[in-house]
């Protein structure tokens, strides 16, 4: 037994997990059950993670519901839909792994106690989702993320895994080229803690809140991506940002694709079901990139409602089915738009929803920095490529939470025990940095700069992108970054200082925004979610590759990496 001279604010574990959503919790379980000590750090209580908001479901080829003409589902069909949905940018080895693991993953969650919606025969129910050739999406009404997150949290609680709630990670520590731990601000006290570990897993979710219009929780500011970039790791495919077609007008709260999976239709102000013009076969159940563009087109052509939205009509589904299958959607529409979908259509508009890109990791979840891993939305193992299918993100979190933890477990015996020194000095540096931030006076307003950055991302790097406009956007980001150097905050206390947290989040948002912008500018083609009005076609000859961004001498440099093809050869995407 190793005896640590544990100081109150210095902690030693085998593995640090940063993020308490589905990926982080599933990884923690795997590590703990293998006898490994871990510390799970989360800037919110794990049950407040954005995973909780996932509505629609989790894809798995269980085949509980027959397809058309009695066809049976298979992981190969799931993989095909995923790769086609990705516009052929996903790495097919990663897709195959995820789709093969999917049925066992859904079953495993049931075995842990998740309550799935059931068919009459008692099996787990499945419903159709966009871009899928099969009713493949397992669900728990429209609270799938909630049910799974609570299950995994219950398991983690029973395992007595140490959870450091409301700990905001302020830096990753590297020594000799390895990641050996991190520093974190305990938000409620203001204390800076140091964590030493042989391995660190980032599971911090997406960066939707660098956009002003997003379905994401307010906490999704790209912390993990920025931490990785700063530590010397690369990001991958950051320009691929998913815009969900149906967010509630105004608040941009998600209205699940399940609403269309259950039969809901999109209607413009002329009462026309316009999706049949854009996707003759799939109509309202075309993939998200296709539907989001169609809605924007309708609005631009003057066929949207004043204020820039269209209607999502569920009325024909009937009250009983809406109450049974979409109770959460109904509540959201009533609470936040004053609309009961049983009697009125829901006003919807596209909004940022998901980050396909993220920390560049290999098939085992390893980043370019030894000892540093990433999984879930914050990572880009590349199962979603240029566009994610609905129902595949929950799947990714739980599959790769488990698999990446397993690869960490395999690697641990050969990982060196890190020295305390580098973490201790990082804690001191962070102490000085926080004192510096709190010591500043006058200058720029924090919230003004945050809002301006988000607005720039929304207007210049939204659904439709164009070279000149994006160059202007990049210049705006740089100018805002300059201004951010002069921000001061009025709250000078250490404890429960949310302005301080927002300040530190803003520091993370800048490099993430820049990487997204640079990736989007250099990709002179349209693929999946990335739509260039000046380059409207996909260009496999020049751009069938991953975009890699990393820090080079204080600037973000862009390069490329090959896509792993396999079973499926790129072809035109028709829905």
């Amino acid at each position: 037994m190793v005896v640590h001279r544990d100081q109150p604010s210095l902690h030693h574990v085998d593995v640090i997990i940063i993020g308490g959503g589905l990926t982080g919790l599933r990884a923690a379980l795997q590590l703990s059950r293998a006898g490994r000590s871990c510390a799970l750090l989360s800037k919110v209580h794990p049950l407040r993670s954005h995973s909780v908001a996932a509505q629609g479901g989790m894809n798995a080829s269980l085949g509980n519901v027959p397809g058309t003409e009695g066809a049976t589902d298979s992981w190969e069909r799931h993989a095909y839909d995923t790769v086609k949905g990705s516009d052929y940018l996903a790495d097919q080895n990663a897709v195959v792994r995820m789709c093969r693991e999917a049925p066992a993953t859904v079953i495993e969650l049931e075995h842990m106690g998740t309550v799935w919606s059931q068919l009459e025969d008692g099996k787990i129910a499945q419903r159709p989702f966009g871009g899928a050739g099969f009713p493949r999406t397992c669900y728990a009404a429209d609270r799938t993320g909630h049910n799974i997150l609570h299950t995994l949290y219950e398991q983690v609680t029973a395992e007595k895994i140490p959870v450091y709630e409301e700990f905001f990670v302020t830096s990753l520590v590297t020594a000799g080229g390895r990641c050996t731990g991190c520093t974190a601000l305990e938000i409620m006290t203001g204390t800076i803690h140091g964590f030493c570990a042989k391995a660190t897993l980032l599971a911090t979710g997406g960066f939707g809140r660098i956009f002003s219009r997003s379905t994401n929780a307010i906490i999704n500011t790209g912390d993990g991506q920025a931490l990785a970039l700063r530590a010397g790791a690369s990001l991958k495919d950051m320009e691929f940002v998913q815009f969900h077609p149906t967010s509630l007008l105004g608040s941009n709260i998600l209205i699940s694709e399940a609403a269309r999976g259950e039969g809901g239709v999109l209607v413009n102000k002329n009462g026309e079901r316009f999706m049949t013009r854009y996707a003759p076969r799939s109509a309202d159940l075309a993939p998200r990139d296709v539907v989001a563009r169609a809605i924007e087109n309708e609005i631009a052509a003057g066929r949207g409602f004043d204020g820039g939205y269209v209607h999502l009509d569920l009325r024909h589904i009937g009250e009983e089915r809406i109450r049974e299958r979409l109770p959460g959607i109904r509540l959201i529409a009533m609470d936040f738009a004053g609309v009961d979908p049983v009697t009125e259509p829901i006003p919807v508009q596209p909004a940022q929803h998901y980050s396909m890109g993220g920390i560049d990791v290999g098939i085992e979840g390893q980043s370019g920095i030894p000892g540093l891993y990433a999984a879930g939305e914050c990572a880009c193992i590349s199962v979603h490529g240029a566009n994610r299918l609905g129902g595949n993100s929950l799947l990714e979190t739980v599959v790769f939470g488990r698999l990446v933890a397993a690869s960490i477990i395999r690697a641990l015996p050969s990982e060196p025990v890190p020295a305390d020194g580098p973490v201790l000095s990082a804690v001191q540096e962070m102490e000085a940095k926080v004192s510096g931030i709190l010591g500043k006076s006058g200058g720029e307003q924090l919230f003004t700069v945050i809002d301006s950055l988000k607005e720039t991302m929304n207007t210049k790097f939204g659904i439709f992108r164009e070279g000149n406009s994006m160059e202007k956007g990049l210049a705006e980001i740089s100018a805002l970054r300059e201004r951010a150097g002069n921000i001061s905050i009025s709250d000078k206390n250490r404890a429960a200082n949310q302005a301080l947290v927002r300040y530190l989040e803003l520091e993370y948002m800048f490099p993430v925004a820049e990487a997204t912008a640079l990736g989007a500018i250099q990709r002179k083609e349209s693929r999946g979610s990335h739509t260039r009005t000046d380059y409207p076609a996909r260009d496999d000859d020049r751009f069938l590759f991953h975009t890699i961004t990393r820090n080079l001498n204080g600037k973000i440099a862009v390069s490329s990496a090959p896509v792993t093809l396999g079973m499926f050869t790129p072809e035109e995407r028709v829905y």
């Binding site: 799935w116 099996k123 959460g328």
Partner: protein
């Protein structure tokens, strides 16, 4: 529209109230108003937030003396005449600040939990009780190869309780929690009941007995505030009532019709 907010930081002898002018806008929520106050007037104003869509359970607070989620409570609805509180009266002796019900919305931290700063309370007490009911699935037998089958009816009944978001609004609205610091409380008891009725568990009465104590099922006085303030329509009072009845029936069976049988 004015937002009147409870302010407290460690070191203050007693709390104070600050009032912020909020731009009226249709549909504006209390959470949005708090962000506005924080960004325009005072960045030291502290409150918890996350999803802003009433699914994560982070932002429960006392709004016009009723525990609610700040993100789903609209200012307009409050000023348009926030009728009588939806719950039965309970004493909040430490909260006596008056407010102008026509012009102001009053925002205070959840009662029955210690205040850390402003609207942020220490949730440890709440989650300690949650853990005390051992809220983890215990299957009735070895895992089958596939899923365990459940009827849609069983799922429907379970879902009444699995929808709980652990926001602690019920805990804060419960008069028993206010006077008995040992009471398990509505959310934890509802969670316990959720596992008891899970047809995949088959624990018999073992789950019920976890809270067969004066501070468990039997402490409830059926004020039903828990159900009435729940943002997700979870009925802890119903769970408690069913649990008590089942325990009574069990005791009757054990003691037999004679009353004191061995």
């Amino acid at each position: 529209m004015m937002l009147k907010v409870f302010r407290f930081s460690p070191g203050m002898e007693k709390p104070r109230y600050d009032t912020f002018a909020i731009e009226p806008a249709p549909g504006k929520t209390v959470l949005a108003a708090l962000f506005e106050a924080q960004s325009r007037y005072d960045d030291s104003l502290a409150f918890r937030y996350s999803c802003r869509g009433a699914v994560c359970g982070t932002c429960a607070m006392l709004i016009n003396r009723v525990p609610r989620l700040a993100c789903r409570t609209r200012l307009g609805a409050l000023s348009a005449g926030d009728s009588d509180p939806p719950h039965s009266h309970y004493d909040l002796p430490h909260l006596t600040e008056p407010w102008d019900k026509k012009e102001e919305v009053l925002v205070e931290p959840l009662p029955n939990l210690p205040v850390i700063k402003d609207l942020i309370v220490d949730m440890d007490e709440f989650f300690t009780r949650y853990r005390s009911v051992e809220p983890v699935f215990r299957p009735g037998g070895p895992d089958p190869e596939k899923e365990r089958l459940m009827t849609p009816e069983a799922v429907r009944e379970l879902e009444r309780y699995t929808t709980c978001i652990l926001c602690a609004a019920c805990f804060a609205a419960c008069p028993v929690n206010g006077k008995n610091p040992r009471y398990t409380g509505p959310a934890a008891l509802a969670k316990l009941y959720r596992f008891h009725i899970d047809p995949r568990e088959q624990q018999g009465p073992a789950r019920l007995r976890t809270a067969d104590t004066p501070d468990g099922w039997w402490a409830c006085e059926f004020h039903t505030n828990c159900r009435r303030v729940c943002p997700k329509d979870v009925p802890p009072d119903k769970a408690i009532g069913h649990a008590r009845q089942e325990l009574k029936d069990l005791k009757k069976k054990e003691t037999g019709p004679g009353g004191d049988g061995a």
